[in-house]
């Protein structure tokens, strides 16, 4: 990267995230002015959006080519008091916590205490949510049965479609006007609501154009004062670009990136949507203008790369909005999950990988930034060299890009009733969530702690953490005569808690639709304009609500432990097991040893355990899939954890699989940490027994040591692993190329790393099977290779 990019990158990496009160202040000023009382709710939201963009600070960083910050400066992160009004204590925690902190200065604290909190307390949607759900919901939430995504952040997980790259705000305004014209006030009872919503969309389009106009003016002002003639010219170009986009469709690659960036800023300023927003299939969306500019000679591959690098840095300048409480537990990271998709197929089903796909991979490799996240979509038709190039980057060990199966994503989406053309234009966003880009609101509503339900079943409905009767009385497990009786009781409990969650979802969705419509996001998402309906109110072409299952490995191994040891082999009685769990295995070492090492485990291609996993998947899926949400769409399942498996684990005592109290659960669809001892092919076989095509995404982690991937041949074999997994309809796989720290930890806690493969010398082996000396030698070697 050149000096300019290096400086901007350093600025981004070194900036200490801080809280900015700017947005909260402007928002509150608008609502206190009384203007909101005179108009409909959507129009008030649009006016507030406009007010913020009219008054917020304009920031053009030194040397940058793509301009625009959400806060007053890089990594200064706004709050959204209409969603979550932070207390003084929240601010203290955000400021001082060890991980994912945001510095909060005294002035910010004072404004919050004197202006923001007094106005928003009780008005925020968070307050309204907790006041509207019923007591069973609150108790289950507090017990760690599930989390709630919409209590601090807005519905998101959505991605920009290709139409954003070919339309300007004026085009959208025209569509809005046409839609207003076609409202049928004689027959449509929702006519007025539609008109207000469309008016609101129109205002937000105007607001974004004006916001860009302010950047244009600022750029020209800086240009006038600039002494360096080259920079002067750049600033003049930026001034011109910001006049043209996002008002009109972009005409060059530079304009396209700036155009999208204004849209991105609009979305994340309007609300703090989950997973920010996303340019989606960047190598597809940008390709025509990239080709055009190269052909015309207005860009070279090198200058195009520089523009993309500038674009990359803009994402890294916007940390995920501050999260507190359970939401911080479930997603404790600065990453805001903007996941750029590369590869896949075109809308006609043909291979979509192009020259720009490879350029983007180069950018990912060189930038090595936390944000944006990136992934490659691999279809049957993707060239092997594309997968190889991605693995080349993965092996350098920073976890990007992740690898997705386009063919399975398409199957998942079409199974849900989407057209195949729409499905092909989709991909994955956030962590692993499948969706149709630009046309779907696919909302993750919360994580669900499946193993906790077993704990409650084993206690006849009582949560042992509190002694409260949290679940149903499904019987004293000591009296169960068979595994089937136990599994029936577990199924009843699971259905009971899923019902509580879905009831809550149906309340919370309506609160968002009524209180916090999102007209800007709506105008971007098809068919909100056509339907005259908000994104939060079912305006999109497709509307899905997900409940993300967590702890698949832990629940499977726990059920296997019970079935195998109690009901089939009489190794232990239920009474003994329950006593041992209560005791956290303190006086039950040999029993724990049996549960850990002599019991079938998920992740070893062992049908005994894997069939139990499939049973769990069936009841989870049956409890959720196809049940209506309030937006004309349906509830769906996916299986991913972000960081919640640690929090969920903390809420559970010892489990029958030998896991100790409060230890993390298994993550994603991965086996329990260290339980898979038969190598990666066995893991992939086990995991492929999940019916991925009935989910909207699953997450699989695989660990390899950097040494293993350091030669061509091994890398090729990892490519074969990926292709084989995808042949079996696996949805996603990501690789941890492991660090020295991990290897050291593996020495201290070999039981947790029983599946770690390392390259020794011309061959590979399980790390824990090596003698200490050899382990040390490998650790030493890896250090030599680390950078």
């Amino acid at each position: 990267m050149n000096e300019r990019i290096k400086q901007l990158r350093d600025q981004s990496i070194n900036a200490q995230p801080s809280l900015s009160i700017e947005r909260a202040k402007l928002l509150t000023e608008y609502y206190q002015s009384g203007a909101a009382d005179k108009v409909s709710i959507p129009v008030a939201r649009a006016q507030a959006f406009k007010y913020i963009l009219e008054h917020k600070k304009i920031c053009i960083n030194k040397g940058e080519l793509i301009v625009g910050e959400r806060g007053p400066e890089p990594t200064a992160t706004p709050t959204y008091p209409e969603i979550c009004t932070h207390s003084q204590q929240d601010f203290e925690i955000l400021h001082s916590r060890e991980k994912i902190s945001f510095s909060v200065d005294e002035e910010v604290k004072n404004i919050q205490a004197n202006t923001i909190t007094p106005f928003w307390k009780g008005r925020s949607i968070r307050d309204k949510i907790f006041a509207s759900v019923d007591s069973e919901w609150i108790e289950s939430y507090n017990a760690g049965i599930f989390t709630e995504f919409m209590e601090q952040r807005a519905p998101g997980h959505t991605v920009g479609g290709i139409h954003l790259w070919t339309h300007g705000m004026h085009d959208f305004q025209k569509e809005i006007e046409e839609s207003i014209q076609s409202i049928d006030f004689f027959n449509d009872p929702e006519a007025l609501d539609k008109k207000e919503e469309l008016k609101a969309m129109y205002i937000t389009a105007e607001a974004l154009i004006q916001f860009a106009g302010r950047y244009s003016e600022k750029a020209l002002e800086l240009a006038a004062a600039e002494v360096d003639p080259e920079r002067k010219k750049e600033l003049e170009t930026i001034g011109k670009i910001c006049k043209n986009v996002p008002a009109n469709a972009p005409q060059t690659m530079w304009e396209a990136l700036q155009h999208y960036w204004f849209i991105h800023l609009g979305v994340i300023t309007e609300l703090n949507t989950w997973d920010s927003y996303n340019p989606g299939r960047l190598d597809q969306n940008l390709y025509p203008l990239y080709k055009q500019d190269l052909a015309k000679g207005t860009q070279t591959e090198e200058s195009a790369r520089e523009l993309l690098q500038s674009f990359w840095i803009k994402f890294n300048n916007q940390p995920a909005p501050p999260k507190v409480g359970v939401t911080a537990e479930e997603s404790n990271t600065y990453t805001d999950f903007c996941l750029i998709n590369i590869g896949g197929v075109k809308s006609d089903g043909s291979n979509a990988v192009n020259e720009l796909s490879y350029v983007l991979l180069d950018v990912i490799e060189e930038m090595r930034l936390l944000q944006p996240s990136s992934m490659v979509q691999i279809s049957r038709k993707s060239p092997d060299r594309f997968l190889k190039r991605a693995l080349d980057i993965i092996k350098t060990g920073y976890g990007q890009p992740s690898v997705f199966n386009t063919d399975t994503i398409i199957q998942e989406l079409t199974r849900q009733g989407k057209s195949i053309i729409d499905a092909r234009s989709g991909g994955a966003s956030g962590c692993v969530e499948a969706g149709v880009f630009g046309k779907e609101a696919y909302i993750l509503t919360g994580y669900f702690n499946i193993p906790k339900v077993l704990e409650i079943t084993l206690n006849n409905g009582i949560d042992p953490n509190t002694g409260n009767q949290l679940g149903l009385q499904t019987g004293n497990p000591i009296e169960f005569q068979s595994y089937i009786e136990l599994f029936d009781a577990f199924t009843k409990q699971l259905n009971y808690f899923i019902n509580i969650k879905i009831k809550g979802n149906n309340i919370i969705e309506r609160l968002w639709a009524q209180i916090l419509p999102t007209p800007f996001m709506s105008l971007l998402t098809k068919d909100c304009i056509k339907n005259g309906k908000d994104y939060n109110d079912g305006g999109a072409r497709y509307n899905s609500s997900y409940i993300q299952g967590v702890g698949l490995g832990s629940i499977t191994d726990s059920l296997a432990a019970i079935k195998y040891n109690i009901y089939e082999n009489n190794h232990v009685t239920m009474v003994e097991l329950l006593t041992a769990l209560k005791d956290n295995f303190k006086d039950f070492n040999s029993l724990r040893e049996r549960l850990l090492t002599k019991t079938p485990k998920y992740g070893n291609d062992d049908d005994y355990a894997d069939n139990l996993m499939k049973d769990v998947f069936e009841i989870y899926w049956n409890a959720i899939d196809g049940r209506p949400n309030t937006k004309g769409g349906h509830h769906r399942v996916n299986l991913l954890p972000t960081t919640v498996h640690v929090y969920f684990g903390r809420m559970i005592g010892a489990l029958p699989d030998g896991r100790l109290a409060k230890e993390p659960l298994s993550e994603g669809v991965s086996p329990v940490q260290g339980a898979d001892i038969r190598g990666p092919t066995a893991v992939l076989k086990s995991v492929a027994k999940i019916d991925h095509e009935r989910t909207g995404g699953t997450l699989l982690n695989q660990k390899f040591s950097p040494k293993f991937l350091d030669d061509e041949k091994s890398l090729q074999k990892v490519a074969h692993l990926v292709r084989s997994y995808f042949k079996m309809d696996g949805h996603h796989i990501q690789f941890n190329v492991v660090s020295v720290e991990t290897l050291r930890d593996a020495q201290k806690h070999p039981e947790k790393y029983r599946n770690l493969i390392v390259r020794v010398a011309g061959y590979s082996d399980l790390f824990v099977n090596l003698g200490v000396e050899l382990q040390n030698e490998i650790i030493h070697r890896t250090e030599h290779m680390s950078f």
């Binding site: 291609d605 038969r678 190598g679 990666p680 092919t681 066995a682 076989k685 030669d711 041949k713 091994s714 090729q716 074999k717 074969h720 692993l721 292709r723 084989s724 042949k727 079996m728 070999p750 493969i757 020794v760 010398a761 011309g762 061959y763 590979s764 082996d765 824990v768 099977n769 090596l770 003698g771 200490v772 000396e773 050899l774 030698e777």
Partner: protein, 263 residues
């Protein structure tokens, strides 16, 4: 009656250095050789024996009888990976030819199911057995340590006569073979030994031209005390450096051989 079971000590899936593609390697127990540097000393004795678990005081049994059905079931589990990668089954050991009848029954079953077979062998067996497996093995990984028979006897416990004869036999039948030379510092890595091997290949073999050189690794050393046996080398051997390996590679290449470091 062909025996439907045999003695193995491990089955390893995702073996990536024992032939082409992703493979499942079956490790036979029992070996007529007794190489000083053997990194699988638990493979030498045909019968099951006790070995201490790594870094522990607890012992476990190494070696078990497995039926052809059970073995094939395990092998078939990774067929999807074999197909994708051009992999298959590798029979290693120990010396698989020691349980030749069981070996043949596995090979025949794999041939029937179109699963690629690789035999990792010392080549120490009767010519009659070599004839029996002829055409059933898709690729031989064939160890060659010394041409000098005295040294061979000293360091492996057996003469290399059969080994060289069998190799010539395979060569004459144009069977795919990769010769593997273990590079043991101070033992097999001398210029003269590499020269003798090169000359043997050039002069006595017509079709075989592929050679892998396998650098000594210290993996096996720790297993000897765990088996309550002593390691024959009294001094500490070091893993050959890339430079040393390249030198040997270059020397072999001057004879027109296709050489690769590692398997």
């Amino acid at each position: 009656m062909i025996p439907q079971s045999g003695m193995i000590f491990d089955i390893k899936r995702f073996a990536v250095h024992d032939g082409p593609g992703i493979r499942t390697t079956v490790f036979f127990k029992g070996c007529p050789l007794n190489c000083w540097w053997c990194h699988n000393p638990e493979s030498q004795q045909l019968e099951p024996e006790l070995i201490l678990k790594p870094n522990s005081e607890v012992s476990e049994v190494v070696g078990r009888e497995i039926s052809l059905n059970e073995l094939m079931e395990e092998v078939r589990r990774d067929i999807i990976f074999f197909d994708e990668s051009g992999g298959g089954v590798t029979i290693s050991g120990g010396e698989p030819l020691m349980q030749s009848e069981f070996l043949i029954s596995i090979l025949e079953e794999c041939n029937k199911e179109n699963i690629h077979t690789t035999l990792d062998t010392t080549g120490y067996s009767s010519l009659n057995i070599m004839r029996q497996i002829l055409g059933k093995v898709n690729l031989h990984l064939y160890d060659l340590k010394f041409i000098d028979d005295e040294k061979h006897l000293e360091y492996t416990g057996v003469s290399n006569k059969l080994i060289l004869e069998n190799l010539k036999f395979l060569d004459s039948r144009k069977i795919p073979v990769i010769i593997r030379i273990p590079i043991i510092p101070g033992v097999t890595d001398s210029e003269s030994n590499i020269k003798e091997i090169s000359e043997f290949i050039s002069a006595s073999l017509n079709s075989i031209r592929n050679v892998n050189i396998l650098p000594y690794n210290r993996l096996g050393e720790g297993k000897y005390p765990r088996l309550n046996r002593s390691y024959r080398f009294t001094h500490q051997l070091t893993t050959p450096s890339d430079k040393e390996l390249n030198k040997i590679k270059n020397q072999l290449e001057t004879y027109g051989l296709e050489v690769q470091v590692g398997g």
